[in-house]
Structure formats: C-alpha cells, structure tokens
C-alpha cells in the first residue's frame, strides 16, 4: 500500500512504538493508584513521556504537559476554559471543526481572520485587524490540515501577547515536523494529537498548559482523594480516570524517534516530498494543485477538473493508494481556499514516506484520471 494519509494518522511508526505499547498492555498498571511495581513502573513511563514532550516543546515543567485522548479533547478543554457565550473570538480561516464546533456550541462572537491561502502576511494583517477590534481569545492552527499552509503562529502569538489576548494553538499538523517553543510563544494552550507527527498510537494527545484550566471531566486522580473537588494543580486537574498507559508508552517511543531524527529534518523531508508530489501532479492534465513551497508542510490538496474527489479517492483506494477525499472536517478552510463546493483530494506524507512511493502514486494517479 502507498499510504498518503498521515495528516489523519501516521500508519508507519517506529518499531519501538508497537513494542512498547504491547509490553505496556501486559506489564503496566495504573499510575498513582498503587505502590506496587506495575503501578510504579507505569508512573515512571508516564513521567518519562511528560519529560520527553516538555523537552521537545520547550515547556518549563513536565506537569504542564497533560495527556488527552486526542487534539480535539485538548482543544475542547482549552476553548471551554477561555471562552464564554458571547466572547469575542478571533480564529484563522483554516480551522478544523475541532476548533469551530466547540466555539459554535458555546455561542461565541466569532471573527475570522481569513487571509488568502498561502499568504502569511495577509493572515497576519487580518489577525491584527480583528484583534484590534477587541478580542477575548484567539485560536489558530499552526498548519492547515487541508492545504498544509503554515500559518505565522509566532507572529500571531506576538500580536496576542502585546494585546494581552490569550492564544490557543492547534498543533495537530505541526507537532513533530515544525519547531514549536511553548514558553517562547507564550500561548495559553497548545493542543496536539499523539498519533500523527509524534508517531504514537491513536487515543493519545497532549495539551500544553500555560494557564489554569477548567475541567472537562471530573473523577479519580490518585491525589487529594478526600476532597470532592478536582485538584487545583496540574496535571491531576485534567487527568481524571485511568490513563491510556499503553498509548503513552507508545507515544514516548514516538517522541524519542522525533527527537532523534530532529524536527527540522523531518519537516524538511516531508515538505520536499509534498512538493515533489505536487509538481508531479501538476504535470498531469486537468489537475489543480494547491502548492506553495516555502509556506507548506507535508500536506497537499488537489482536485481533478469535472471529477468527483470522492470517486477519485475510491478509485485510488482500489489500487492500494490511501489518501483522503472530501472536506477533511474543515469546511472553513475549504471556504477560505475556494474549494468548499468540490472538496479536494489530500495527500499527506510522514517521515516514512519515500520518493519511490511518490513515483508509484503519480503513475497510478495518471492511470486513474486517464480512465475517467
């Protein structure tokens, strides 16, 4: 199979990930819930993962690294901590439903700093304008999950800091392939999945906390058990119930892989491969490719003139090419990119994707559109 759906989940993982996950299932118990070896060993594994994440994202204390089920879970905590009905919230035009649906559910006053696709200056200018109108919160994705557009989050964070507007960053598509300095950004929260660019198993995610969070879940934490309120300290405040220890054990190995390979190296390799695929697609007749080297990560959208993207996706799937078609849970991004009516096909690569796979994909794609 040629797997080009890493923006959803990286399927090829370092071997150590599955080994650590499998080992944890039968050896590790509940951290903080017992003094016996399986519980204490689980606690050590969980702490090692927090420390690895804190190192990778420049967080000044491992307790600020909170385990979540996925990025959506973390974004919900962050958004529901900082937004209220009627809050003035500025978002980019490239947000996923993981951001827009919680905001919609809260009933906020939503303002979109849209900016043209791949135009970082335009996005920044729109953020500046909307923030200057008055804002209670800003939320911005680091990389569009549809187009791979790298948004200027460092500059947006600077705008937010000077205006004292808390910022939430969705690092779903950037964690593991673009540098992210949490303390340097001064963000209120950064949410990310463990199962994409960090190469952990599904069901893992991280929320980096720069603010005191509100709880989304209440329950047992293995601490201050006499009290009926959740602990006021991290990470316990946000980690009710038993941890996904097996997932965290796998995530730790994923983080070690990313640290060893180097975020910049992985990012450069993925961007180059996406560009190679994009240029190859552009040489095919009837294809519109959303390509912008320099402002694009390893995610690439394209569409075929007068052809349904889902049908092309199906045809590719039948030839063992895995990529994603449709709206990618991000209608706002499609609206901003002008592709809402058609959707797009999306090819997304990982550190394990190869030039050979790209060439095979291009050959198959040529056949698929030729047979239409």
């Amino acid at each position: 199979m040629i797997y080009l759906d890493s923006a959803a989940t990286t399927l090829q993982k370092p071997e150590a990930v599955s080994a650590a996950t499998a080992w944890a299932v039968s050896h590790l118990a509940s951290p903080g819930r017992g003094g016996h070896w399986p519980a204490m060993a689980a606690a050590e594994k969980v702490f090692a993962c927090r420390e690895a994440a804190a190192r990778l994202f420049h967080v000044d204390g491992p307790e600020k690294v909170v385990f979540t089920f996925n990025a959506t879970h973390g974004l919900n905590i962050a958004i529901k901590t900082l937004a209220r009905p009627g809050s003035r919230v500025v978002i980019s035009g490239y947000e996923h439903n993981a951001v827009t649906r919680p905001l919609h559910a809260l009933g906020v006053d939503l303002r979109v700093a849209r900016g043209r696709l791949f135009d970082r200056e335009a996005v920044l200018e729109d953020f500046r304008r909307e923030l200057d109108r008055g804002a209670d919160l800003a939320v911005c994705t680091h990389v569009s999950n549809v187009f791979g557009f790298i948004l200027p989050v460092a500059e947006i964070a600077a705008l937010c800091r000077t205006r004292r507007v808390p910022l939430i960053i969705d690092a779903s598509q950037s964690a593991g392939c673009l540098p992210l300095n949490f303390e340097g950004l001064g963000a209120a929260f950064v949410a990310m999945p463990g199962h994409k660019g960090l190469y952990g198993p599904q069901g893992t995610g991280l929320l980096l906390c720069g603010r005191d969070p509100a709880t989304l879940l209440e329950g047992g934490t293995g601490s201050e058990s006499m009290r009926q309120t959740m602990p006021d300290f991290l990470p316990d405040r946000l980690e009710a119930g038993t941890h996904n220890v097996a997932g965290i054990a796998g995530l730790l190995e994923g983080l070690r892989f990313v640290e060893h390979q180097g975020v910049e190296h992985i990012g450069a390799q993925e961007s180059q491969l996406a560009r190679y695929i994009g240029e190859g697609l552009r040489s095919l007749p009837g294809l519109e490719v959303f390509l912008s080297p320099g402002t694009q990560a390893g995610v690439l959208s394209f569409r075929v003139k007068d052809r349904d993207c889902e049908e092309i996706g199906e045809a590719l799937g039948s030839k063992d090419v895995a990529l994603r078609a449709g709206l990618h849970c991000a209608p706002l991004a499609h609206e901003s990119g002008g592709t809402l009516n058609t959707g797009t096909l999306r090819a997304s690569v990982s550190a394990f994707s190869t030039r050979r796979e790209a060439d095979q994909f291009l050959r198959i794609m040529k056949n698929v559109i030729g047979s239409g």
Partner: protein, 84 residues
C-alpha cells in the same frame, strides 16, 4: 533505619522532586504516602535517607521545588513532621 519523607501534592511533583535529587546524586524513591501523613487523601512522597536531608533541601530550593511537608520516621513506626 531512620529516613525522611518529603510529601508532595501530586505524583508528578514527587517524580520531579525525585528526579532532581537523583540528578544531584541523592538517592530518592517515590512511594505512596502513609495514610497518617497523606493530608487530603492519597498523595505521594519522596523517601530519602536521614543524612541527605540538608543537601536535598538545598537542591530542591535551587530548582524551585520547595517541599510542602517533610516527615521523619519515629522509632515506633509513626511519623513526626519536621519544621523546615
């Protein structure tokens, strides 16, 4: 053998405390706090030997991990809080 227990507000703080001490060459072990000293319910402590307390407190102050409470074992198996 006499030893000290540094009571921490969370498992993660206990782990940070133990890691900082170990990095400074002080043997430290995270354990669940005995019920009699656990305060609001379950908590974790870092166990260190009697001779290491002064050095441990210096290390923890340096890294900004000021202990919440410290106890010493008494001969009868009970614990006495140590004034810091």
């Amino acid at each position: 053998m006499l030893y000290y227990l540094i009571v921490c507000r969370s498992l993660t703080y206990a782990q940070r405390t133990a890691a900082a001490l170990e990095r400074a060459g002080i043997t430290a072990r995270v354990i669940r706090s005995p019920k009699s000293i656990s305060g609001e319910g379950c908590s974790h402590s870092v166990k260190i030997s009697q001779r290491n307390l002064p050095d441990a407190l210096r290390v923890l102050q340096r890294v900004g991990l000021t202990p919440k409470r410290v106890y010493i074992t008494a001969g009868d198996g009970s614990y006495q809080e140590v004034a810091l």
